[in-house]
């Protein structure tokens, strides 16, 4: 077996399935970037594609591609680690493969319908077969049902594999998190005319996914990845994971209330939503401390440098994008002015990249490393400039977009909201202000920078390790449970 050839015989069954999920995830990542660029361009050239591919369609595809590629990345991630973690071959692989193809076909059909049909009359048929028209979860109802069915297969396979093998802390957290993830999706699968009740439950899906269950999933992948890449002891990562889960659910579940300030819901959500959402950055600080401390105790010696770099980017990106950017506008006293402005878009861009893209991309690198027979991906890697430039360009691009959108948001909050009083004239007054227009140009420049980083990432994933003949060192032997002092000798990676 060649050390550097792409060879699926290097993988276990679950990992082969994971590769399929990762491939579709990457394709959707590209779609996210393309539709994001188109939507960004329409801010600068409003006539561009007007009447054929309107802003609403581009934005819908930009957002939905983001959500689905990350979700597929998570599903692939769990299948990737399942067999090693449970110590048992993946159960239900045939069903798992079938579910993958069903999900992929459903996503393709939904994307085509969004692209070609785009919208429909105000009937139940539209919601069932064309577009539900609710931001982030526009997928028509038939697709919702398909997604739930596929998710049930995924859940069954995961739980059955852990049950027949061994239940680790990471396995338990992932399995319990999946119950919440799947269950919460049901909260978005009904129609009501009452927009207040509609948005109440809509946020159960959106917030409790990204600010609770997705964060926990990211935490579980981080825990597993630190063991795999650095050789951190299972005891340490599991304990940290439990702490993070306690803090994430402890703050994030009632932090949901920061979406209930202005939708008709009672005033007590000011206090509950404001208080608990203000605590949401705390688990993200814990993750930074944990990742940096573990890196230090292992003298930064990792067996997969690109994956390790993304994990560190995740720790800081999650704290900055989800934590700091979210905290800045979470109290009702400021949210009254920032709500529904580009502040939110700024937060969305930095958080989705910092918290989620950067935890899925390291899985791609770990997968490629294994596919090439555990090829060397450490110091002196041939062509190592590519992953560094890819990460750098994406990091600068997304941060740049977020800052440009934040400046636009500041300007809107002041001119449209505080001074202008939020009527239509005030909205357009803010949209035509030079600060806003300049911000949109900078957002576009930074969007293109991000896109260049993504192109480089794809190139790198295709060739990294191809010219290496060295084999990566084995993951550091796990230190004895419970008895190892925290500062035990670093791994010989």
């Amino acid at each position: 077996m060649a050390i550097n050839a792409l060879d699926t015989s290097n993988l276990n069954g679950g990992q082969r399935l994971a590769i399929k999920y990762f491939s579709v995830a990457l394709a959707l990542f590209v779609a996210q970037i393309i539709f994001g660029l188109l939507a960004g361009l329409q801010y600068l050239m409003p006539q561009f594609l007007l009447g054929s591919l309107d802003f609403a369609t581009n934005r819908m595809l930009h957002l939905n591609a983001t959500v689905v590629w990350l979700l597929m990345g998570f599903i692939g991630g769990v299948y990737w680690l399942l067999e090693d973690e449970a110590g048992h071959p993946t159960v239900g692989l045939r069903l798992g493969n079938l579910a993958f193809w069903i999900l992929t076909a459903a996503v393709a059909v939904v994307v085509l319908v969004f692209l070609i049909v785009q919208m429909g009359p105000g009937t139940d048929f539209t919601r069932w077969f064309i577009n539900e028209g609710r931001e982030y979860i526009e997928a028509p109802r038939w697709a919702d049902i398909g997604i739930v069915a596929v998710f049930l297969v995924f859940f069954f396979n995961t739980v059955a594999t852990f049950s027949r093998g061994r239940w680790t802390g990471i396995g338990m957290v992932i399995s319990l998190d999946m119950i919440a993830l799947g269950g919460l999706y049901l909260a978005g699968m009904f129609y009501t005319t009452n927009v207040s009740i509609d948005q109440y439950w809509w946020w159960w899906v959106i917030h409790l996914w990204v600010e609770a269950t997705w964060e926990v999933m990211a935490g579980a992948i981080m825990a597993w990845a630190l063991m795999t890449v650095l050789g951190t002891s299972r005891r340490i990562v599991t304990t940290w994971l439990y702490i993070e889960v306690a803090l994430m659910f402890g703050s994030g579940i009632l932090g949901l209330g920061h979406h209930y300030f202005w939708i008709g819901t009672p005033e007590y959500w000011f206090k509950i939503g404001g208080f608990f959402s203000a605590l949401e950055p705390i688990p993200l600080v814990a993750m930074v401390v944990h990742a940096v401390y573990d890196s230090g105790t292992h003298n930064m010696k990792a067996r997969n440098h690109p994956a390790f770099a993304y994990l560190i980017a995740h720790a800081f990106g999650n704290f900055l994008g989800a934590g700091v950017w979210g905290f800045m506008q979470t109290l009702p006293q400021i949210n009254l002015y920032t709500h529904g402005t580009q502040w939110t878009a700024s937060h969305g861009h930095l958080a989705f990249f910092g918290a989620f893209a950067t935890i899925v991309i390291p899985l791609f690198y770990l997968a490629v490393q294994r596919l090439r027979g555990d090829v060397w991906m450490g110091g002196g890697l041939r062509g190592g400039w590519r992953w560094k430039w890819a990460l750098g360009l994406m990091g600068i691009g997304v941060l740049g977009m977020s800052i440009a959108l934040l400046i636009a948001g500041y300007e809107q909050s002041y001119i449209e909201r505080a001074v202008g009083g939020s009527d239509w004239a005030a909205y357009f007054e803010a949209q035509t202000h030079p600060w806003f227009v300049q911000a949109m140009y900078w957002r576009m420049i930074m969007g293109v920078t991000t896109a260049l980083g993504v192109v480089l990432l794809l190139w790198d994933l295709a060739v990294i390790g191809r010219y290496e003949t060295r084999k990566a060192p084995e993951p550091a032997a796990e230190r004895p449970e419970a008895t190892a002092p925290e500062g035990a000798a670093p791994s010989p990676a």
Binding site: P46, A56, R59, M119, G122, N194, V195, G250, P266
Partner: protein, 198 residues
């Protein structure tokens, strides 16, 4: 010998994680039950659909130091007095049109959606429609033919023609009128509604 201090116990933190999750979720369920009762259509916060037969204002509450909607006397929509059932049907149709035409991916409703076009929470009261006499007609005309009736205020952004019929436009306007009556805790702040006289 286990040297792990009690505060770093893996098992202990596992229990903490489970209990915190259960307790927080239980509190959320109780609050959801309570909030639901307060935002059913027909409550003080979210008026019933027949509010489309009434005059709706947005006034500054000196005591709370924020704005709130005020429902006044009769101000019929399209010259018709809708029964409870008719009003609900019309508003329901309006909301389904708003969803089916993907309005939320350009506009915001109660501040949620996209930021490419104005927030529609109080669009019924927006001074841009001129006067209560011209409002309904202008809104319907605009929805039916947004490209020709566009006022882009210098942005060049035009709402695309979504093929909205007259009947659909009326239903959409009814939905927007009803939404303007929801008590949104003072959002949007500092909004000056159109002068409705009387």
């Amino acid at each position: 010998m286990n040297e792990t201090p009690w505060w770093a116990s893996q098992r202990g933190w596992g229990h903490v994680a489970i209990w915190i999750t259960v307790i927080m979720f239980a509190i959320l369920l109780v609050l959801t039950y309570d909030s639901h009762a307060m935002i059913e259509a027909g409550t003080e916060r979210v008026p019933g659909y027949t509010v489309i037969n009434k005059r709706i204002d947005y006034v500054y509450d000196e005591e709370r130091r924020r704005y709130r909607p005020e429902v006044g006397g009769e101000q019929l929509l399209f010259g018709k007095r809708y029964s409870a059932e008719e009003a609900e049907d019309l508003v329901t149709h309006g909301k389904k049109i708003v969803q089916g035409r993907n309005c939320m991916n350009c506009h915001t409703f109660l501040g949620h959606g996209a930021y490419y076009a104005p927030d529609l929470t109080k669009s019924w009261l927006d001074p841009a429609w001129g006067s209560p006499q011209s409002r309904e007609m202008l809104m319907v005309q605009f929805l039916q033919n947004p490209e020709e009736n566009a006022r882009t205020y210098g942005t060049g952004r035009v709402m695309p023609d979504l093929g909205i019929t007259r009947e659909e436009a009326r239903a959409t306007v009814a939905y927007l009128k009803w939404m303007a009556a929801i008590d949104t805790n003072g959002f949007p702040h500092n909004f000056e509604p159109m002068t409705q006289g009387g």
